[in-house]
């Protein structure tokens, strides 16, 4: 694109366009902006308390696995083989 292709008044049009840009940039935040900042600040400075390890997925998964392992009865183990069933059967009189 050579400069000669540009109409002589294109500079004016360009300036006009930039003028529009300045005019449209007079946007303002919605009213009561400060109140919303305060609310956000309150949330940011006093977040809901949770121990740090809860926020780590690896710890949460490990905890879940341990609950499943320790909290379950031996039904699943019993179904897996006969030996454990015999071991857990009542002693003969």
């Amino acid at each position: 694109m050579s400069e000669s292709d540009i109409r002589p008044d294109s500079d004016q049009e360009w300036e006009g366009l930039l003028g529009k840009l300045r005019t449209q940039s007079l946007a303002q935040p919605r009213p009561f902006f400060y109140t919303r900042v305060q609310a956000r600040l309150a949330t940011a400075t006093h977040p809901a308390w949770r121990p740090g390890w809860v926020r780590r997925p690896a710890y949460a998964l490990l905890l879940g696995a341990m609950v499943l392992l320790l909290g379950g009865d031996d039904t699943a183990l019993a179904a897996a083989g006969s030996a454990p069933v015999a071991a857990s059967a009542p002693a003969p009189r």
């Binding site: 694109m1 292709d5 540009i6 109409r7 294109s10 049009e13 360009w14 006009g16 366009l17 930039l18 529009k20 840009l21 300045r22 005019t23 449209q24 940039s25 007079l26 946007a27 303002q28 935040p29 919605r30 902006f33 400060y34 919303r36 900042v37 956000r40 600040l41 940011a44 400075t45």
Partner: protein, 213 residues
Amino acid sequence: MTCAIPLFSISESSACAEAVAPTIDADAELVAQLQRGSEAAFRTLVDRYQGRVYRTVYSLLRNPEEAEDVAQEVFVEVYQTIARFRGDAALSTWLYRLATSRALKNRRRAQAKKRFAYFTSLLGFGNEVLHEPPDHAHPLTLLEGREQFELLLAHIARLPDQQQVAFTLRHEQELSYEEIAAVLGTTVAAVESLLFRARQTLRKHVQPSFRHV
């Protein structure tokens, strides 16, 4: 000379970090009060700068909801970190710096999210419809020259980050070259170069519609 853009320690770049603000003494006093924990001072700060911060963020995001959200984040960060503000740069410079960096970060996050959503939709994860963000075109764009104006906005959004920040701070916030240099942590010459390249790119894309009117 290019300067790093640390948020608080810009003493090494004082030559390029002298944003001239008309209320620089008032701001220094405001910072002192803020550092003493004055809530009234924080309110004054928000009242004084909310428009400038919001408009700066808006000019980079073009979305009022996101702009409001990021502007709030800026003031929360100011409140939380004002104790570390050493006053090497003007308060307004620091605010513009926070506003532009947070806006760009927000935009990058949104773009990454959009790319991820597109990728997962291609792989067939989730069947939700991808909604395009709402178009918040300013009413001015509905007036004469709407197409050109929209074209200009679209191409501003595609400029490299530094060029876009320099261009919007100059042509929308009407900051001086020195102020822009302070915000970007660079030299006036570098700002001139950024603006030259930005204008050149924009005129190249918007100019054809001028030529064939």
